[in-house]
């Protein structure tokens, strides 16, 4: 394909390419499922992709930018600019319904909605076990294997599991 004469790919097509790029930490969900791609727009022949970080110290951020760059270049995008956007701050409410279902199937309990402002440690949310579905679970620790997850245990099937905490 000759990039100089080829028409610019449609924005909807670019979104579908981005939806095939997996999150480096949780590869069953895509960057689009995670809700961190905030905008895709052409400025002349330059494609601008706006990305928001999940947690400010998340070590996956650099890898995510690399994967976006690599993924889009494989589809022939030559001029690409990645823009970081801090505000509005990422929230787990932006995780798609499809993403939530994939998380659960992978063994990670998806975030319980409406808890974003409720980071208090004394009343953890009621989280269903992603394996057996029981609501009889307990929080082991507010921090888990990555900054975005907490550590839970099911008291019915006794399996430990990660909870993608509301943020």
């Amino acid at each position: 394909m000759d990039a100089t004469t080829a028409p610019r790919p449609a924005i909807t097509e670019i979104w579908s390419w981005l939806s095939e790029i997996p999150d480096p930490e949780i590869p069953v969900i895509s960057l689009v499922d995670l809700g961190i791609i905030r905008a895709v727009a052409w400025t002349g022949d330059m494609l601008e992709v706006t990305v928001t970080p999940t947690y400010s110290g998340c070590p996956a951020t650099g890898v995510i930018n690399f994967e976006i760059d690599r993924g889009l270049r494989q589809h022939g995008i030559e001029k690409l600019s990645l823009k970081r956007q801090l505000s509005p701050a990422w929230t787990t409410q932006w995780i798609s319904a499809e993403g939530r279902a994939k998380l659960r199937a992978y063994g990670i309990a998806p975030p319980v909605d409406g808890m974003a402002a409720c980071a208090g440690a004394l009343q953890p949310p009621i989280v269903s076990c992603p394996r057996c579905g029981s609501a009889k679970t307990e929080r082991i620790s507010q921090f888990g294997s990555t900054p975005c997850k907490a550590h839970f245990r099911c008291t019915e099937c006794l399996e430990p599991f990660d909870y993608f905490k509301s943020f």
Binding site: Y55, S56, P88, G120, S141, P147
Partner: protein, 255 residues
């Protein structure tokens, strides 16, 4: 967020915020692999990660507002003690696990209202960083307050240690609420709150938590101060010696 004109006041403020996050993040990271329980080891490392992520945001802003072409890594690794602007509280040695937790709590109880106030800053960059960081810090405060209560109102041994921790750290808390000329300038421009305006929220949270923890707030009100103008306790030099070793010994090393 296009590059704005240099602003010494914003640069100084961003350094103060970033340095407190950096030094506390580094102190927490000293626990990695040494905590009393695996879950707490992970929690400390996660908190450290958040704080160092926030440091990156603040120091980027400091560099941009300074306009002298320095990078965040230059600020973190190539300034000496007198160049650091962090609170004295965060550079105090970890001590035992109780003192580390109490230090975190006393800081978090200030950090969250500070960030909430900064979300209304006249500078959109400050407001955006505060919006992002406040979500993380809400979790920090939830955890540290919970543990202060559990350890204070725990065994006789844990209670004694937590009371010793609050007694030791108390003189380093007053500095958070004392304004200097930079603070006056920032407040007058609507960039940051008056430090004193955060005292009531902090005091209310701390009074409530210490009461739940069966701990006594010290009555002494003498405040150790100087960190925010670069006058530090002897401990900061040891922190920097370790943190900066690689860049000092091998300037410009990358991996």
């Amino acid at each position: 967020m296009s590059a704005a004109a240099p602003s010494p006041a914003i640069a100084e403020f961003a350094l103060r915020m970033g340095d407190s996050c950096l030094i506390l993040g580094h102190r927490n990271s000293e626990w990695c692999g040494h905590s009393p329980a695996l879950e707490e080891d992970i929690a400390l490392a996660n908190t450290a990660l958040d704080l160092i992520g926030q440091t990156q945001l603040w120091l980027e802003l400091a560099c941009e507002a300074e306009g002298a072409g320095r990078r965040p890594d230059d600020l973190a690794f190539l300034r000496d003690v007198s160049g650091y602007r962090n609170l004295l509280l965060v550079e105090q040695p970890n001590g035992d696990f109780g003192r580390t937790l109490m230090r975190q709590y006393l800081f978090d109880a200030w950090h969250l209202p500070m960030l909430k106030a900064l979300m209304g800053s006249a500078d959109s960059r400050i407001a955006a960083i505060a919006e992002k960081a406040s979500k993380e810090v809400a979790y920090h405060l939830g955890r540290s307050a919970d543990l202060v209560v559990r350890l204070g109102d725990g065994t006789k041994e844990s209670h004694t240690r937590m009371q010793a921790a609050v007694d030791f750290l108390w003189p380093y808390t007053g500095e958070m609420f004392i304004a200097d000329a930079v603070d006056e300038d920032l407040a007058a421009s609507g960039l940051a709150p008056q430090p004193e305006s955060l005292r009531d929220a902090w005091r209310e949270h701390v009074t409530h938590t210490l009461a739940d923890a069966t701990l006594k707030a010290p009555e002494k009100s003498y405040a150790q101060k100087g960190g925010r103008r670069g006058v530090h306790s002897e401990h900061l030099g040891f922190v920097l010696a370790e943190m900066q070793f690689l860049q000092r010994a091998y300037p410009g090393a990358r991996w």
